[in-house]
Symmetry: D2
Subunit: 288 residues, 4 copies
Amino acid sequence: MRRYILTITCPDRIGIVAAVTGLIAGHQGSVLEAAQHGDLETGRFFLRIEILAESLPAGFGPTELAAAFEPVANEFDMQWSLTDTDRPKRAVLFASKEDHCLADLLQKWRAGELECDLPCVISNHEDLRSLVEWHGVPFRYVAVPPRDSQGKEAAFAEMDRIVQDERADVLVLARYMQILPPTFCANRLGRIINIHHSFLPSFAGARPYHQAHDRGVKLIGATCHYVTADLDEGPIIEQDTRRIDHGDSVDELRRVGRDVERTVLARGLRWHLEDRVLLNGHKTVVFP
Amino acid sequence: MRRYILTITCPDRIGIVAAVTGLIAGHQGSVLEAAQHGDLETGRFFLRIEILAESLPAGFGPTELAAAFEPVANEFDMQWSLTDTDRPKRAVLFASKEDHCLADLLQKWRAGELECDLPCVISNHEDLRSLVEWHGVPFRYVAVPPRDSQGKEAAFAEMDRIVQDERADVLVLARYMQILPPTFCANRLGRIINIHHSFLPSFAGARPYHQAHDRGVKLIGATCHYVTADLDEGPIIEQDTRRIDHGDSVDELRRVGRDVERTVLARGLRWHLEDRVLLNGHKTVVFP
Amino acid sequence: MRRYILTITCPDRIGIVAAVTGLIAGHQGSVLEAAQHGDLETGRFFLRIEILAESLPAGFGPTELAAAFEPVANEFDMQWSLTDTDRPKRAVLFASKEDHCLADLLQKWRAGELECDLPCVISNHEDLRSLVEWHGVPFRYVAVPPRDSQGKEAAFAEMDRIVQDERADVLVLARYMQILPPTFCANRLGRIINIHHSFLPSFAGARPYHQAHDRGVKLIGATCHYVTADLDEGPIIEQDTRRIDHGDSVDELRRVGRDVERTVLARGLRWHLEDRVLLNGHKTVVFP
Amino acid sequence: MRRYILTITCPDRIGIVAAVTGLIAGHQGSVLEAAQHGDLETGRFFLRIEILAESLPAGFGPTELAAAFEPVANEFDMQWSLTDTDRPKRAVLFASKEDHCLADLLQKWRAGELECDLPCVISNHEDLRSLVEWHGVPFRYVAVPPRDSQGKEAAFAEMDRIVQDERADVLVLARYMQILPPTFCANRLGRIINIHHSFLPSFAGARPYHQAHDRGVKLIGATCHYVTADLDEGPIIEQDTRRIDHGDSVDELRRVGRDVERTVLARGLRWHLEDRVLLNGHKTVVFP
């Protein structure tokens, strides 16, 4: 079923929902899902509405709906977006050598569980080329030379070009083992998704499974978050944990952790693709 | 903060939310929370809205709000209720000998986590009198003679009288080990909450931990549900599970299970008290 | 590290562990892991010991260890097995059209997370041939004609031949949508692993996600079990659950469920491959 | 059933289990449970064995068993302890104003789920006196004057006296809101159990629910650990997490968190009382 998804962030005040749903009902729009959140601390209001496309009059498509919505949006000082499920988002995946997250995303994508286009996968290693190409997705190898700041800059400039050429809506770091330079992240707030292999804020930085093993925690976890210039500090989209015990080596933590990582990343990405994740400062609102 | 909670069930059609929120906004009502669900199979629509009482004009209390709402309700053929957090529900708890659920509910109630009045606890045993009375709650002992159908009838007639005298809004079976007769349940659909010590529909009936042990399951659970004439078949409000292993005896299942039972019952009851649970045939809609 | 894994089941009595560990220590064997369980109801004792191969004297391999162990085994009336991690088990996977379990097993196998040989995948459909062959595993298509008992018999006879030719130690039904005939299961107790897409014993049989949706449960699950002639009644190896809510359609239950299914099957299979699962009547002992 | 519980820590080498179980079997001792762990990093070995008291010869009690065990212990350079379930540990509970952990421990203790003696509860507030005394446990009020280092010192000296007079085996900080001075903790390593209301190492220190809310995590947790001079850095015994969402206020995190705290503390304490927790440097081995 084709749907239009309207997401809104604005200062909270009386009458927002009445105005928005009134406008939709005025055009005979049928609402399939709606969720809202008022943040008492920031005074911001968040709204997500799914409208059944075919319930609107013939010829009243997303452009017409957006135009009709404009005055309401202005009245309430809204930041908003209107997406059309017939125009899926374009996601560029980044990976390095480990395939557990990438393989899971590709399998789910092929099975129709992730509604997006995959114009390409970018990697700094050749290892995963065959896996990616078997799924019918172009593989773009962009080497990132270590300890060569000029070479690195050139590599990220090339990736930037690819991402722009492919008109990517979202970048997904599926265990991509390079730190993105701030210039690359700038202007992409809320559009780069990373999976960190710990339950943040615990064990930020390198080798989280070693850190977890050293500290002797009884659960390990993974965190899916938007990337910001502050490494591992971006807005959290989703997290989960699994039980471990004293007998588990670092390798066993890695194995258990891989299952959490892939599940958490796939869940976070799906919510993003369905416009369920709204930024609220350095936090997120997730309408499941 | 005093709030009015409006819950609505009606046939799904266009304009419901716009009409309801339009009415509220028309009286300057501030919506704190709203959640909705359209059931595609039954064509029913469910809505729950929390309105900040003080945002409405002076003198415009629940009676006035209900009166103003009446025409909208009629237009959309709504079943609805409007509750006032300043008039907490009256809950009568039923227990037998085991205290783990009852003690948890009483502790949470005393700590302010369960917003309700507790006019009394009814029990078919004297064992828990002291616990109940220590919490300042009247204890009503009603013996239920075994294998004596006339005696049983009289006992339930007395409990019925108590419940009516106390103007109870909800009855909570906190491991009450008697089966309620159909006459007692009739007219109380959605107003009697039970905790069953298994993950229903598995292990309905007697001795679920023995059944679970015999089957060799790897998780056990508990189910909070509304009571109907069909034992263990009522609409499910909440469930949860815990991991066990081959080394756990029936007694250990019971011990692990008690923690699940009390958590699940307290959660289900809190949702009921906050009008978050709406009946949808033999299922529930739970707005968390 | 090469290890010998000794698993033992016998009537419980005094001195078993002392005798077994005494024998191992007598040959300077280093024990890496040991776990035991005495079942008070059946009076059976279960033991699993991992011995570091290189700790034993040169020339004292599995054959010599088994020979040395024989008298102890006889004394205590043991059923036992001794496996060598240098000789991984041979697993034949069965699948139909859905790839979520199979793809996960293949990915984990390729990543070295499942230590076994995969001589082939058998399927009653051609859909997954490419996926399987990309992983370098032979794909054997065996059609199972519907409503043709003779054709079915021939098909299972062929599969039986393949399985025997491949000297399979274990068969894994990774969402294989055919019911194995009793003749095929006979003599394979504890050697055929199935994944059922419900939290058994709830929702045995066909279309468990529909059943779960109809009943309105708040969690769904999956069960990995050994196959017996009694469908969905075999000894349970592993189970897990995930939270759902009233808004989830049957399709969404399927999607959430697929992640549980693949995780539970992979975990159960890994434990089987590591000889961690011992049969105890119609139940299992799992040494994690 | 009366049991003797033997726990052992020693350098790992060949023959430990054979020697220990050989000795037990030599006296006809029946082993009910046994679990072991070899730590590859530290080279330490850990063992816990439950022996059925009545299986040993008449007159061969814990003293005789210990004497018989002495030579084995010396041979393998063991730190060990032998406890007798007929002599339950003596636990002194510490609490302040919040009762959720204390009430849960008292309820479980009364129900026989925590096998220990409770000589008294110590508190720096009078609030919980009635609750404690209703359970038949003496309540000792010891004021801790704020910002008065001499007064504090005297208070902890008094508590130290009480704890010694009561011959406490373990101290349990059930949301006791005072920091224990290093002198009080010294010589009590592995004998003071605390519950911290976060998933450590995240959100150590003050106001963890505020910290969690500010960071926007999607799960909160609690940690049961042994107290050391380094605040919130002691060996972790048990942890757990619960899901929250963007709509949960700090107060709601507190409410959800209280259920996790009490469950985790009760579990950790039970394991400690059953001698299932062994120290391994700044980590623990927990035999469940």
